[in-house]
């Protein structure tokens, strides 16, 4: 373990992590640390914000930076105040699908609309993991969870498409089986001016896999690879053909006016200089 190159980015006194065996959270933490490393970001310039859930534990308390572990669903709203106060820092939210797209979905939409310069890594494991595997707004149609014992009768939210439509500067979706693309996108999200979302489809073999014939992490990763369709190819496919598929790729990458810069423009315009 002492040979692990990313250890310097972690609060070693709180290791090992609480993640279950095979959890995708470790991959996300590792790739995020590598992104920070490759970009040469000083962790003193990072503020990590998370909500409540297993995925919210990926940065907090493990990542050695300023870390704000907030209430369920609200990390993006907390991060909004932080970014206004510290416009020169990297403000990063890492949290789960239930947290960010379920209970906190409104904040996700409006932060994207404002295009505030926050990077969000949304870890989508199709389930409310921490509370024991209840259905989430991302659970596939028909899937078994502890609260859909007869199969899920609701349709999952397409988070990446929704956030792109809401106005984000950058949106990409990858699975934990695409670590290099994920790394590239997280680096892009960190450096992009404006709201950036990286949706990571991640395995939860314990709460999701085992109830859905995907017993282990390797089973789930193989399922991700088999079911993934690159965005370019997906655009030529019908909705029926895309049913149950995971569309991966960059959904949007554009320049758009950023919120905190605009706020500061107002101040520069009306600020009273008494001297």
């Amino acid at each position: 373990m002492s040979k692990y190159r990313m250890l310097k980015y972690l609060r070693q006194e709180v290791l090992p992590t609480t993640m279950c065996l095979g959890c995708g959270g470790g991959t996300v933490l590792n790739i995020f640390a590598n992104a920070v490393d490759e970009l040469g970001i000083d962790p003193k310039d990072l503020v990590m914000v998370s909500g409540i859930g297993c995925s919210a534990w990926i940065p907090s308390p493990y990542f050695k930076a300023d870390t704000l572990h907030t209430t369920h669903g609200r990390p993006i709203a907390f991060a909004t105040g932080i970014k206004v106060g510290l416009p020169d820092k990297y403000v990063v939210v890492i949290s789960g699908d239930g947290d960010l797209a379920g209970i906190g979905g409104n904040h996700l939409l409006h932060a994207a609309r404002r295009n505030i310069d926050i990077a969000v890594i949304l870890v989508n494991n199709f389930i409310h993991g921490m509370t024991g595997g209840q259905v989430a707004p991302t659970t596939p149609f028909g899937a078994k969870t502890t609260t859909t014992p007869y199969g899920n009768i609701e349709h999952p939210l397409n988070i990446s498409e929704t956030v792109a439509a809401a106005g984000a500067s950058y949106v990409a979706r990858w699975t934990t089986a695409n670590p290099f693309m994920l790394l590239k996108s997280i680096k892009k999200a960190l450096t992009k001016k404006g709201f950036a979302l990286v949706e990571v489809i991640s395995q939860c073999p314990v709460q999701f896999g085992q109830r859905n014939k995907l017993r282990s992490a390797p089973d789930m990763l193989r399922w991700f690879l088999k079911n993934s369709v690159p965005l370019k190819k997906a655009m030529k496919m019908s909705p029926e053909e895309l049913e149950g598929k995971i569309v991966i790729g960059e959904f949007i990458d554009r320049e758009r006016v950023e919120f905190v810069e605009e706020l500061n423009k107002i101040i520069r315009g009306v600020y009273v200089n008494a001297d």
């Binding site: 609060r11 006194e13 709180v14 962790p43 003193k44 503020v47 914000v49 907090s60 308390p61 050695k64 930076a65 300023d66 870390t67 704000l68 572990h69 907030t70 209430t71 609200r74 709203a77 907390f78 991060a79 909004t80 105040g81 932080i82 206004v84 106060g85 510290l86 820092k89 409104n106 904040h107 939409l109 409006h110 706020l263 107002i266 101040i267 315009g269 009306v270 600020y271 009273v272 200089n273 008494a274 001297d275």
Partner: protein, 385 residues
């Protein structure tokens, strides 16, 4: 806060304004630099004033998507070192409760204004009320301390808000201002002071890395290692050790933390709790009131006095913590206590806990949105003479 900027923008002198506006100006004089909110009657004028004035002093106004986001944003901003405030009314105040608990647990200085309106639910949206007395105390879950202060005039809205910021910075906790729709919308003359006359307290920051290591312990009120300074501060609403690291399994860690949160208020109660009293030395009948109901109460007491009735007046400025010792002491000398308030009896429950059984306790309670009149309080006094 640059005093010369304030002087230039708001020269000292008399102004005519609403209570809501006075709250906004009080915040600016206290050094508020970040406001996040969501529109709601009768608090919207606070947001509108902040949106217009804050940028002039280099501050930020953000309109959030709801009240949960608003309080979340001000807590986040406070951790960057900005003095922060939000304002709302009953429905929004209810939505904020979870994060008020978060601010208490994470010892984050913020100011939350509740311009009370008639409830429950949407109730009479445009009408003032005093129904949130206990929500301000016990709205969020779990054992927790609370500080709530309540202005009785437009001028006091200004000074109460400055007090709220100073208390929040000093004790590292959320302070609630319980205004109401009547005072919030009422216009009165107020005197804006020279910034020199305003005492402004700033939070204690760590002076070195060593001091930053115990953001949640060591001292009764620890220094706050705000973000962006390289301290690697860890903040969580879960039970945590003095370092900030989560420990939800050790009973003594929780016990120590939550008791300290209470103790920092308990130990400073004398300094925190403020009230106003008149004619209490020889009073046989005491009128105890707060907020908008205090004015008619004082008028009634003055009228009774002019008729030789030994009535006294007591107004809570701080409603939580409750001035229990003083009320208890005064109650030993009086026959009756009258409690006028625009609700069906909330402050009176608190008063009751601290008075002897032989004191007659009478509520003057009015709901529906129309303020209590001095006549109504006077009649209650006459009844017990």
């Amino acid at each position: 806060m640059n005093r010369s900027v304030l002087r230039k923008l708001y020269p000292k002198g008399n102004y005519f304004m609403q209570g809501d506006e006075a709250i906004a100006y009080g915040a600016i004089f206290a050094g508020c630099k970040f406001y996040a909110g969501y529109p709601i009657t009768p608090a919207s004028e606070i947001a509108e004033t902040m949106a217009r004035e804050l940028p002039k002093v280099g501050g930020y106004y953000v309109q959030m998507e709801d009240e949960i986001g608003s309080i979340a944003a001000i807590i986040g901003a406070s951790w960057t070192g900005l003095k922060s405030m939000t304002a709302t009314s009953g429905p929004g105040f209810s939505l904020m409760q979870e994060n008020i608990g978060y601010a208490i647990m994470t010892e984050t200085p913020i100011v939350v204004v509740d311009v009370q309106r008639s409830g429950p639910s949407t109730g009479q949206a445009t009408k003032g009320a005093q129904g949130d007395f206990f929500q301000a105390r016990w709205g969020t879950h779990g054992d927790h301390p609370a500080i709530a202060i309540s202005p009785s005039s437009v001028e006091e809205c200004f000074w109460t808000t400055i007090d709220a910021f100073n208390l929040s910075e000093k004790f590292r906790m959320p302070i609630i201002i319980l205004a109401d729709g009547i005072i919030g919308h009422m216009r009165e003359q107020i005197r804006i002071p020279d910034p020199e006359e305003v005492e402004v307290i700033e939070r204690r920051l760590p002076q070195n890395e060593e001091e930053a290591k115990l953001p949640f312990g060591g001292d009764l009120i620890p220094p706050m290692p705000i973000f962006g300074r390289g301290y690697f501060t860890h903040v969580t609403g879960s039970t945590h050790k003095e370092t900030g690291m989560r420990d939800v399994y050790t009973p003594s860690v929780h016990d120590k933390l939550v008791r300290r949160l209470h103790e920092k208020i308990e130990k400073h109660k004398k300094e925190i709790v403020k009230w106003e009293e008149k004619f209490t030395d020889d009073a046989e009948i005491l009128v105890v009131s707060w907020g908008v109901s205090a004015k008619p109460s004082l008028c009634a007491v003055l009228r009774a006095r002019s008729e030789g009735i030994k009535a006294g007046f007591f107004r809570l400025k701080t409603v939580h913590p409750f001035p229990s010792e003083r009320i208890s002491k005064l109650s030993k000398k009086v026959r009756a206590i009258i409690v006028p308030e625009m609700n069906l009896g909330q402050l009176i429950i608190e008063v009751q806990r601290f008075v002897n059984d032989d004191v007659r306790l009478i509520g003057v309670n009015k709901i529906g949105g129309v303020p209590i009149t001095s006549e109504e309080v006077y009649n209650a006094i006459k009844e017990v003479v």
